[in-house]
Amino acid sequence: MDKNQMMERAEILVGAVDDLPTIPVVATKVLQLLDDPDVQVEEIADLMLSDQVMTARVMKLINSPVYKPTQEITSLKRALVYLGLRHVRELALTTSVIDVFGGTSGALELNAFWEHSFGVGMVSKIIAQKIGYEDLEKAYISGIIHDLGEVFLSNFLQEPFMEVLEYIKAHPVKLIDAEAQLLGTTHCEIGLSMARKWNFPDAYCDVIEHHHNPGSATVDPILCAIVNISDLFCSVRGLNYGGREWISFNLSEEEAWTILKNKAPGLAQMDIERFCYELDDAVPDVSALVSAIFNSPEKAKP
């Protein structure tokens, strides 16, 4: 199906939802405040603290195995200092996205969805590090939000999306192809449409749109390639939405791998087998993180 048609269909579907969740007011304010070059950490901290849920999420993320602080960080201000203001934007964005969809249920099992998303975030950060990509947090956040469109499909197109999920159980096709075939659009176009509504930065829109075809990315093909490869690894190693689709791949045939090897030729020597086994070991950490974020009472100290 034609790319433009799929995009049009996505715009229509997203536009037709009256109660599309919005990013919390505080997040929008934080994003605005961060545009001010003279902004102080205290101002941001005060503003974020007015949203207890966001504060709690930030604290959990910062103390997760992914960020690995040497000792537990218990105050929001210290968390912001530890991360650096430049990363607060991403954090505000992620925690808001989690908030918007965290409590809802649809066709997808949400814990499995977020385990995949955080897993792709974690692996994206590791790969970003390996290839010397300059902004590790950006890679992490990109991983977390890459499949945003799926949550929309799961919530607002529940029945047709269920059919897609049933279909891929019985047929050896990729989810994205089944979506295009049965829904006339895919989670990439849907996600992009949402990300635009929420004024996501261009690089994230690029990842959401092109994480299955990084060669077509316009803003940051390397970032899209990082997320693409991370997505593949997670899909075969236990962070795979509970194994809903059949994935098999050979890195030497993946466009994203070529993009990354051009950036960092040393990648060709990477011990892929060991990387997979280490990923198996990390799966319980990711599950623990997700269950800490979504399944426990929210409490945080200022």
Binding site: P172, S235, V236, G238, I272, E273, C276, D281
Partner: protein, 275 residues
């Protein structure tokens, strides 16, 4: 004695670098208990001391004892489920399609360290199930080889204990296994597809005759070889594989640094090596 994360990681890295076998964190307690046995036997007091022993000139000798402890030599039917699932649902149908186009309806499979035959017979059962459909009118040849004649004799006999058959799915068990006083007897329908021979994987003159296989399995054997021998043996497997065939190693094994010709094909829960 409880092993610290640091000691565990150090010994895990050592074993991985020498043998190409990765110990998952979930296997920490297993490794701990096996290491403790070797520490008692060698009179070493701490994991650190034992690590130093392994790295010392006496280390290569001790490593053999350690390998015997940590690689439980037992084998059983349907051992590597992710591998078998990938093979049955994806790799085999793809291969059959290629060979159908070529008009070459013959499938050859090699279990290269067949021990008492469980792996070879598992493949036979899986392929037998496809006899009426995917593999209709196909010739199927499964070869099991091992260096040890005792296990070859056991394999040929085809009688197993409860432990060996515990993982066989019920549908297969009902069809292909007959229980007799705690002994589990394999059906002749399965046995007839498999032949067993003695073979030393080191022996070049014999290895070059193991030709034209579509799938080769060699689980938990290469870990005993040094890097040079590993490379040599794996090169034989590479040469003896059909252009579209697959080579498989054991569940936590790695060929990294051993052969750079194979392409790694990932599937859920595992990978295979493609020519």
């Amino acid at each position: 004695m409880a092993i610290s994360d640091k000691d565990f990681e150090q010994l895990r890295d050592f074993i991985y670098n020498i043998c190409g076998m990765y110990f998952h964190t979930t296997k920490k307690y297993f490794l701990e208990s096996r290491l403790t046995r070797r520490m008692e036997a060698t009179g070493t007091k701490t994991y650190q001391d034992y690590y130093l022993l392994l790295k010392s000139p006496r280390g290569s000798e001790e490593l053999k004892f350690l390998m015997d402890e940590i690689t439980t030599n037992e084998t059983y039917f349907f051992r590597n489920v992710p591998q078998l699932t990938a093979l049955e649902n994806k790799l085999l149908p793809e291969l059959v399609e290629i060979k159908n186009k070529m008009g070459f309806r013959k499938l050859r499979i090699w279990s290269a360290a067949s021990s008492s035959g469980e792996e070879a017979y598992t493949m036979a059962m899986i392929l037998l199930e496809k006899r009426a459909t995917l593999l209709k009118d196909w010739i199927i040849e499964i070869v099991g080889t091992d260096i040890n004649e005792t296990v070859i004799a056991q394999a040929k006999e085809g009688i197993y204990n409860a432990y060996s058959v515990r993982n066989i799915p019920d549908a297969y068990k009902r069809k292909y296994i007959k229980e007799d006083n705690g002994r589990f007897i394999l059906s002749p329908d399965v046995k007839k597809f498999v032949t067993f021979n003695k073979l030393n994987l080191y022996e070049d003159s014999k290895m070059i005759f193991m030709k034209s296989f579509d799938f080769i399995f060699c689980a938990n054997v290469l870990i005993y070889f040094d890097t040079a021998s590993k490379s040599k043996v794996v090169q034989h497997f590479y040469n003896n594989l059909q252009p579209y065939g697959y080579f498989f190693v054991g569940q936590s094994e790695s060929l990294h640094g051993v052969n750079d010709k194979f392409k790694t094909v990932h599937f859920p829960g595992g990978f295979g090596y493609k020519k």
